[in-house]
């Protein structure tokens, strides 16, 4: 579950700025900026959506919609969201969760959540031949380093909650613990993760 990879400074950062932030370039209708953003962010968005939906076609639909929203409504992205990749990831995740809930396939989701491989294990999609060369891989490593620092119970709760898309009650049922325990574990875990990932705000 927990990755063994260590952060690599050689991996390409997500510093894609060229003549202004991506948000500014999209607002300026810079098509090249969109193409670059698609090239860099698509593997991560697919990873997020497929880990939640386990359906490649639906995952692709959501990823396409995310980029369409970024392009069509770039001027509505809050200026504070200078880092577009996490913004896209959040949009994709929310859409995927909405779709999960609209399906009302909770039971199926329970079963599939058991096999969530989003954190470096199994994956619903094709793996990349050289993942460490992927732009953003150093962010991935940083996130995993932060996750590794969490106590086991918090980490497993975060995995089910954030990467599995489960609600408090579903996690409680899954882990056979009181719902209050789930809430407190998640709150503590998120507090620590926010601190550990705070420096990533400087990245695009």
């Amino acid at each position: 579950m927990t990755p063994s990879r260590q952060p690599r400074s050689a991996a390409g950062p997500l510093t894609l700025e060229r003549g202004g932030s991506f948000r500014a370039r999209l607002i300026a209708r810079d098509e090249r900026a969109l193409v670059e953003l698609i090239d860099h962010a698509t593997p991560w968005l697919l990873g997020m959506t497929q880990s939640l939906l386990h359906d490649a076609d639906e995952a692709e639909e959501i990823v396409l919609d995310c980029f369409r929203q970024a392009w069509d409504q770039a001027d509505r992205i809050p200026p504070e969201e200078s880092a577009l990749v996490p913004w896209l990831m959040r949009v994709a995740r929310n859409r995927a969760i909405d779709r999960l809930r609209s399906r009302r396939r909770r039971q199926l989701r329970h079963e599939r959540a058991h096999h969530v491989g989003a954190l470096g294990g199994d994956s619903a999609g094709a793996s990349l031949p050289d993942e460490s060369a992927l732009p953003g891989w150093h962010v991935h490593d940083t996130v995993h380093a932060a996750l590794r620092e969490l106590p086991d119970d918090q980490r497993s709760t975060v995995e089910l909650a954030y990467f599995g898309g489960l609600t408090h009650s579903e996690i409680a049922e899954r882990l056979a613990v009181p719902i209050g325990t789930v809430k407190s574990r998640l709150n503590r875990a998120y507090d620590r993760l926010r601190g550990a990932l705070a420096h990533l705000k400087e990245w695009v």
């Binding site: 990873g47 396409l64 998640l186 709150n187």
Partner: protein
């Protein structure tokens, strides 16, 4: 708006809301609360940014070949709306109908245009023929023409190649009613009728004529005023001009 919950509950569940871990009814209540609570709205926005990179913990998935290109094409060049996809067909059908209805009229117009074109081509050929006679003319004969108080001219350009004349009658009024101008060849055998000439003041009468088939060698030309009904036989009217080629 708060679903009976205290503000502390919303503060406590901000991270759960951002993470989408609330039950659906709780999430709905939280969303309603956000609309009226700027403090929670700002706090949630900040949490979303702070936890934004957490999503990068997923394992990346290689897009299938061509998918990224499909995205950029779909976003930058979206497909036209369904009605627009049918628009070309509808336009084509409409155009076919219009063309069908207009076909007969177009055919009639085409026939008229063809006739007009043929006439124009004939006129053009005549003009070109006249100009060829003028260009090749090696001799020019000129005589004054008196018609009452008017004095006009009779000019003949002789084309030795085709043995034709370009005859120009200018400066004469239209022929009086019941009369007409008549051009004559003066031959060894006498006067041979040429053609009627219709000058009209400033508009000179011009015609290209070959030599008469009978009458022997052409010696000269004459212009007379004949009665309109007199179209055969030797000249009977008044002579207006007379010129001899050797003179």
């Amino acid at each position: 708006m708060n679903g009976g919950l205290a503000h502390e509950w919303f503060i406590e569940h901000r991270q759960a809301f951002v993470g989408r871990h609330l039950e659906e009814d709780e999430e709905r209540v939280f969303g309603e609360h956000l609309r009226g609570c700027g403090e929670c709205r700002d706090a949630v926005a900040a949490l979303e940014r702070e936890l934004g990179w957490l999503g990068m913990g997923v394992r990346p998935v290689a897009p299938r070949p061509g998918f990224t290109r499909e995205i950029s094409d779909a976003v930058l060049r979206p497909a036209p709306a369904p009605w627009r996809q049918w628009a070309p067909l509808a336009a084509a059908a409409g155009l076919t109908l219009v063309l069908g209805l207009g076909w007969r009229g177009a055919q009639r117009r085409a026939a008229g245009l063809e006739a007009e074109l043929a006439s124009s081509q004939a006129r053009l050929e005549a003009v070109e023929d006249t100009l060829s006679v003028v260009r090749r003319a090696s001799r020019v004969f000129h005589a004054s023409v008196k018609m009452h108080e008017h004095v006009g001219t009779l000019t003949i350009l002789d084309d030795p190649v085709t043995h034709r004349w370009q005859v120009i009658v200018a400066g004469l009024p239209p022929a009086p009613p019941g009369e007409r101008y008549q051009f004559w060849f003066i031959t060894e055998d006498g006067m041979v009728r040429g053609a009627e000439v219709s000058p009209a003041g400033d508009n000179a009468a011009k015609m290209t004529r070959g030599m008469p088939p009978k009458g022997g060698a052409v010696l000269g030309a004459a212009l007379t005023m004949e009665t309109a009904s007199d179209s055969v036989g030797p000249p009977k009217g008044m002579e207006l001009a007379h010129l001899m080629l050797e003179s």
